[in-house]
Amino acid sequence: MSVKIGVLALQGAVSEHVRALELSGANVVTVKDVRDLDGVDGLVLPGGESTMMRRLMDRYGLFEAIKLFADQKPVFGTCAGLILMAKQIEGRQGPHLGLLDIDVKRNAFGKQVDSFEADLEIKGISESYNGVFIRAPYIKSAEENVDVLATFEGHIVACREGRFLACAFHPELTDDPAMHSYFVHMVEESI
């Protein structure tokens, strides 16, 4: 039986994640409300605008529900999702979900004109992966318990800490299934 993975669907690149996860063999649902988390084995926090997502999470109880979910189950954040997962965010008082022992900088590579694509090596996942960085954050520093999976120009752009996976780029915008397959596998192993 395939695992059931939720994609937070308040805003952002939701349909791309749904497609990529389905291609990796998961049963996928979109999550807009607390009840949508029922029976979900793993959760993806997509790219989009983290401030907007946080506002709507607070409004209808999703924030606490996702924190509880993450106490036991795997979570994968891309770009805005990574920001939601970080324990420290530069220039902001306190974290959002605070799941990953990392310190992130928002819009760290600059504005949209500085957005870019680059070839990445992702440890244990892919030797050549097209990273799409859009007004992307990077990870300034990570604690020792965090496994650094990829760097670009000296900055950490992908990491894993136990059941939590995060990257600064957008795997959902490419046709390469490597990152999504890796997460689906993480979820399968967690059950």
């Binding site: 401030t51 709507l56 504005k111 957005s115 694509e117 680059a118 859009i134 120009e153």
Partner: protein, 295 residues
């Protein structure tokens, strides 16, 4: 490991990140902060909102760079700005200011009544308005990385945005269902680049996101456009011409996310005060119709 900037994927991807969101017109830093706080996914920095452009008359141009800069300094969400249709230099100026997206917009007075900007030549991405698939495909052919309905800006009347969204989507369905040998004639009828129609036929959808714009005045209007297949919503005059902009902005954001949750839209629609007054289309003179510019 060489970084490639301004690629099609990066330009279109930026718009993908806006999906399901609301992009709000703002004229100063204070409004930009209200918009960000309410959950806007981006702001459009302007000198005047469309309904005031209508009232003021005369030539409407790119905003004073000071306004754009103040908005950029006030928020961390993306900042868009408008250039006149065909005004290459206004667009280059906005690119030099590092705005995140340029709207080559019929809301401003066109600088060129024949040609649009060659948007592929820019690193910054562009959004353009469209009323049908012909306009949509021509703009994509010129390099637009995002589309929006034209609607009729500054009217608070949703009817034109509805018309444009329905028409584009029905024409996309037609293209997808068409036999290959019918496509060239349809391209001729629409005045659309054949290759773009071919891409749409293969993908089963437009290659870029298509937002609703031009006349969204209530949370129910925003939800209606999502129901009709919009990827997200631009709200121009609707928010800061209403009685309680902060509340109005929050309600529009939530109605866009939860557009099929009608009990929730009931709550969101309560006590919002008077929305902008609005204009009936039949009272507009041909010269006042912004949607007929730049086709």
């Amino acid at each position: 490991m060489v970084a490639q900037r301004g690629t099609e994927r990066v330009k279109r991807g930026m718009a993908e990140m806006q999906k399901g969101g609301v992009i709000m017109d703002v004229v100063n830093a204070e409004q930009a902060k209200i918009a960000e706080e309410a959950g806007a996914t981006a702001v459009m920095a302007l000198e005047r909102v469309p309904s005031d452009i209508r009232k003021a008359g005369g030539v409407a141009r790119m905003a004073d760079p000071t306004i754009v800069e103040q908005v950029q300094n006030a928020v961390s969400i993306p900042v868009m700005a408008k250039a006149r249709i065909g005004h290459i230099v206004e667009a280059r100026v906005l690119e030099a200011m590092k705005v995140d997206y340029i709207d080559e917009s019929e809301v401003l007075t066109p600088a060129d009544d024949v040609f649009h900007i060659d948007k592929k030549a820019f690193t910054v991405p562009f959004v353009c308005g469209c009323r049908d698939l012909g306009e949509a495909a021509r703009r994509i052919g010129e390099g637009a990385a995002m589309l929006r309905t034209k609607g009729e800006p500054g009217t608070g009347n949703i009817v034109e945005a509805v018309r444009h969204m329905r028409l584009v989507n029905s024409q996309v369905r037609k293209v997808v269902a068409m036999a290959p040998d019918e496509l060239m004639v349809f391209a001729k009828e629409l005045g659309a680049p054949y290759e773009i129609l071919l891409q749409i036929r293969e993908a089963g959808r437009l290659p870029v996101v298509n937002f609703a714009a031009g006349g969204v005045a209530t949370p129910a209007d925003a939800a209606l456009m999502m129901e009709l297949g919009a990827d997200g919503v631009f709200v121009g005059s609707g928010i800061f011409k209403s009685e309680n902009p902060a509340k109005f902005a929050r309600s529009i954001v939530e109605a866009t996310t939860y557009y099929q949750d009608y009990e929730r839209i009931v709550e969101l629609s309560k006590g919002l005060g008077t929305p902008m007054k609005g204009i009936d289309m039949s009272t507009l003179e041909p010269a006042e119709r912004m949607q007929d510019r730049g086709i």
